[in-house]
C-alpha cells in the first residue's frame, strides 16, 4: 500500500482540506475549548468575566437531572423509534419490491413524499392532527367510541406521539435504500432457493435478509445518528413538555445555548452527545454480520 504524496496531489486536495479546516476542524476545536469555560451572558458583555473551568461543565452535566431526563427521553426515542422505523421501511420496501410491480413508482413516490417535506411544516400539520378537540386522530377514535386523548399534552402519550410522527416522516428514506439493496440481490439466488423447496418465509430469512445485511447496517447507523439528534419535532410540537417528557439532548443544548446563553455548558452537552454517538456507532459496527460484509 503506497500513498502517492506528490505535491501536485496535495495541491488538488488543498481547497477541500482548507474548507474542512476552516469550517469543520476549527469550529470543533473552538467549541471544545468553549466547553471548558463558563462562557455565558456576562462574558458576552465583558470578556474578562470568562473563566476557564476545566471539566466543571461536564461534572455539572452528570449531576444535572435535566440532562439525564433528556438522555432517557432521547434513548427511548432511539430504542423504540429506530427499530420501528427500520421495520416499517423494510416492510414497505418488500411490499413495493415484490407485489405492487405495476404501481411501484407511485408507491415509491407516495412513501418518499414525507421525507422531502420540510420537517417544521410536517410538525405543524401533525400538531393539528393530534389536536385534542379538532384533531382527525381523536375524531377517528370517537367513531370507535374511544374518549378523546390529549396526545401532546399527556405526559405518557407525548413521546409515543412524537415517535409515531417521526417514523411516518422518515421511513420513506430508508425504504428507498432497502429497495436499492433488494434490487442488487441476484434473482438466481431465489431461483436456487425455490429449487431447494424454500417457501416465501424461508426465502426472506435465508436469502433476502442476509443479502441485505450491509444495507441494514448502514440504515441502522444512519437512523441511530439521526434519532439521537432529535430536535425539530419536540421544538415545534411540544417545546420539550409536558414536564420535560419530550426534552431531547439537542433541545436541551439549544435551550442552554440560545435561550440562556450558557455557551460553555451547551458545548459540553454537544461533546457528550458526540461521545455517545461515537460509542453507539462503534457498537453497531462491531455487531455487523461478518460473513455478509467480507
Amino acid at each position: 500500500m503506497s500513498v502517492n504524496r506528490s505535491p501536485l496531489a496535495i495541491g488538488f486536495a488543498a481547497p477541500a482540506l482548507a474548507l474542512i479546516a476552516v469550517f469543520f476542524a476549527l469550529p470543533v476545536a473552538a467549541s471544545l475549548l468553549l466547553s471548558l469555560t463558563d462562557f455565558d451572558i456576562y462574558a458576552i458583555g465583558d470578556p474578562t468575566t470568562l473563566r476557564f473551568v476545566g471539566l466543571a461543565n461536564y461534572a455539572h452535566l452528570l449531576r444535572d437531572p435535566l440532562f439525564w431526563k433528556a438522555l432517557a427521553n432521547t434513548t427511548t426515542f432511539v430504542a423504540v423509534g429506530g427499530p420501528l422505523s427500520i421495520a416499517v421501511s423494510l416492510a414497505a420496501a418488500l411490499a413495493v419490491h415484490a407485489r405492487l410491480t405495476r404501481f411501484r413508482s407511485v408507491f415509491r413516490t407516495v412513501f418518499f413524499l414525507p421525507v422531502v417535506t420540510t420537517l417544521v411544516a410536517v410538525a405543524v400539520v401533525w400538531r393539528v392532527l393530534y389536536h385534542p378537540r379538532v384533531g382527525v386522530l381523536n375524531g377517528a377514535l370517537a367513531a370507535l367510541g374511544i374518549p378523546p386523548l390529549d396526545w401532546l399534552g399527556d405526559a405518557r402519550l407525548a413521546m409515543p406521539a412524537l415517535i409515531l410522527m417521526a417514523v411516518w416522516k422518515s421511513f420513506g428514506f430508508n425504504m428507498v435504500i432497502f429497495l436499492a439493496g433488494l434490487q442488487a440481490i441476484p434473482e438466481r439466488l431465489y431461483e436456487a432457493a425455490r429449487i431447494d423447496g424454500a417457501g416465501a418465509a424461508a426465502q426472506l430469512r435465508h436469502v433476502t435478509l442476509p443479502a441485505l445485511a450491509p444495507t441494514l447496517l448502514f440504515v441502522a447507523i444512519s437512523t441511530g445518528i439521526g434519532s439521537f439528534q432529535l430536535f425539530a419535532e419536540p421544538y415545534v410540537m411540544t417545546a420539550g413538555g409536558p414536564s420535560n417528557r419530550t426534552l431531547s439532548i439537542v433541545l436541551l443544548m439549544y435551550r442552554e445555548g440560545f435561550r440562556w446563553w450558557n455557551m460553555g455548558y451547551a458545548a459540553a452537552v454537544a461533546f457528550v452527545l458526540f461521545a455517545i454517538l461515537l460509542a453507539v456507532t462503534a457498537l453497531l459496527w462491531r455487531l455487523r454480520p461478518r460473513e455478509a460484509g467480507a
Partner: protein, 422 residues
C-alpha cells in the same frame, strides 16, 4: 392575516420610497402584536418630524429574545427596540442599553413622571433607568360573577380570608361539576405574587442566594398549596388545558388569575349570553390595605448604546410616550397605557374591567432584577409542580429550590466579589 402582512409590506415600501436621502433612518424593532399595531403611530410621528424616517421591523415574540441576543453579538442591533420588562437586566449586563436618566430629565414630556411606580422601578437597575415603559401588564383575578353570586358571595374578595371563604362557598355550590379556581401548577407567577404580598424578598444578600425558606415565602407557599389540598384547584398543568375560554364559559372554574390579554380574548370568545357574567378584581391582600401585590410586567422602549441615531430614536420614544399616543396605541392593540394620565380617557375610564387593572397597577412589584431570574423562575415552577403533585413535601421542595438557585447565582456572587475587591 396574509392580507394584513402584505398591507404592512406595501406600507413599508411606500414609506421607504418617501424617505429622502438626507433623512435620518431609525431602525425600530417591535415585537409580536405591537409590531403589527404600531405603523399608524409611526406614520404620524414621521409627519411631525420631517427629517426622521423610521423603519419598523416586526419580530414574533417567540423568537424575539434569541433574535435580540444574536443581533447584539452580530453587531446588527436596531437603534430603538421593545424589550419585555423582565429582559432588561440581561441586556444591561450585556452592556447593550443606553442609560436614559439624563434624557428623561431633559425631556419636557417624560420629566414630569406620570408613571406607575412599580412599573418604573422594573426599569431601574442599580439606580439608573434603562427603558421607558411603553405599555403595562400585570395579573389579577378574573371571575364568573354569576357563579359567585349563585354561591352567595356578593362582591369580589378583597382579603385572603375572604378569598378562601369565597372559594370554599363556590366549591360547595359547584360540587363535582367544576373547581373554584384554576391555577396551572407549573406557573410561578401566582405563588410569587402571593409571596411578595406576604413580604417575601425571594432572594437575599443583594440577590446572591435564594431565600425561599424564609418564613414569608413558606407561609405564602402553604396558602397556595392549600388551594390544591382542599380541592379548590385542579391539579393540572398549563399544557393540559385544551381551551381556557371554553372551560371558563362552561363553569369548569370560577376564578383564574390572568393578564390584560384575557380582556380581549374573553370579550371575543365567550358566548353572548355570558358577556356580562364575568368581571375582574385586583389581587386580595394578606393583611394590609387592598389591593394585594401583583407582578410588574409589560414592555419598555430602550435605546442601543452607542447608536449614532440615538437623538432621533429618542424623539420616537418621547412621541410614543405621549398620553395621546398611548391611548391611540391602546385602541390599536389593546395594550394598557403606561402613563396614568392616559387612563382618564373615556375608553378606559368607562370600563370597569380595565379599572381593576388601574387599581392593581398602583401595587405592582418587579421580580428580582438580575439576568438569572428567568432560570430561577423555571426552577420555581419545578418546585411548585413537585409540591402540588405531592412528589416532595413543601419543606423539601423549597430546600431543593434554594440549593438550585444558589447554584444558578454562583457566577453572580463571583462577579460581585470581584468588583468589590479591585
Amino acid at each position: 392575516m396574509i392580507a394584513r402582512a402584505l398591507g404592512c409590506c406595501a406600507a413599508l415600501v411606500l414609506i421607504a420610497c418617501g424617505a429622502r436621502r438626507s433623512d435620518t433612518v431609525v431602525e425600530f424593532w417591535a415585537l409580536g402584536g405591537e409590531g403589527e399595531a404600531v405603523p399608524p403611530l409611526v406614520a404620524e410621528f414621521e409627519r411631525r418630524e420631517p427629517g426622521i424616517h423610521v423603519r419598523v421591523q416586526q419580530i414574533p415574540w417567540s423568537a424575539a429574545h434569541e433574535k435580540l441576543l444574536t443581533a447584539y453579538v452580530g453587531d446588527a442591533m436596531p437603534d430603538v427596540f421593545q424589550l419585555g420588562s423582565t429582559w432588561i437586566p440581561e441586556f444591561v449586563a450585556l452592556g447593550a442599553l443606553d442609560p436614559l436618566d439624563a434624557r428623561i430629565a431633559a425631556s419636557p414630556e417624560l420629566a414630569r413622571g406620570d408613571f406607575f411606580p412599580g412599573i418604573l422601578d422594573a426599569n431601574n437597575i442599580d439606580g439608573r433607568i434603562w427603558g421607558v415603559p411603553w405599555y403595562v401588564d400585570t395579573r389579577l383575578l378574573f371571575y364568573r360573577r354569576d357563579l359567585l353570586a349563585a354561591a352567595g358571595v356578593a362582591d369580589a374578595p378583597r382579603t385572603w380570608d375572604a378569598w378562601l371563604d369565597a372559594l370554599e362557598r363556590v366549591q360547595r355550590a359547584r360540587g363535582s361539576s367544576g373547581y373554584a379556581i384554576l391555577l396551572p401548577m407549573n406557573e410561578w407567577e401566582v405563588p410569587v405574587a402571593l409571596a411578595m404580598e406576604r413580604g417575601a424578598g425571594l432572594l437575599r444578600d443583594g440577590d446572591r442566594y435564594g431565600d425561599f425558606r424564609a418564613p414569608a415565602f413558606r407561609e405564602a407557599f402553604a396558602f397556595y398549596l392549600e388551594l390544591f389540598g382542599r380541592g379548590l384547584a385542579p391539579r393540572t398543568g398549563a399544557a393540559q388545558i385544551a381551551n381556557l375560554y371554553q372551560d371558563f364559559a362552561s363553569g369548569f372554574f370560577t376564578f383564574y388569575v390572568s393578564g390584560p390579554w384575557s380582556l380581549g380574548e374573553l370579550a371575543r370568545r365567550l358566548p353572548g349570553a355570558l358577556a356580562d357574567a364575568w368581571a375582574t378584581a385586583p389581587m386580595p391582600s394578606a393583611g394590609g390595605p387592598p389591593p394585594g401585590v401583583s407582578l410588574a410586567g409589560g414592555a419598555s422602549l430602550a435605546l442601543l448604546r452607542g447608536s449614532p441615531r440615538a437623538a432621533a430614536a429618542w424623539r420616537l420614544v418621547e412621541f410614543l410616550s405621549e398620553p395621546r399616543q398611548q391611548i391611540a396605541f391602546y385602541r390599536l392593540s389593546g395594550d394598557l397605557p403606561a402613563r396614568p394620565s392616559a387612563w382618564r380617557d373615556a375608553a378606559l375610564a368607562g370600563d370597569p374591567r380595565a379599572q381593576a387593572f388601574r387599581e392593581q397597577l398602583e401595587n405592582v412589584r418587579a421580580t428580582p432584577k438580575i439576568p438569572e431570574w428567568e432560570r430561577i423562575a423555571e426552577a420555581l415552577s419545578r418546585a411548585c409542580e413537585a409540591a402540588i403533585r405531592g412528589e416532595a413535601v413543601p419543606a423539601a421542595a423549597l430546600a431543593r429550590l434554594d440549593a438550585d438557585v444558589d447554584a444558578l447565582l454562583a457566577k453572580r456572587r463571583w462577579l460581585l466579589e470581584r468588583s468589590a475587591s479591585p
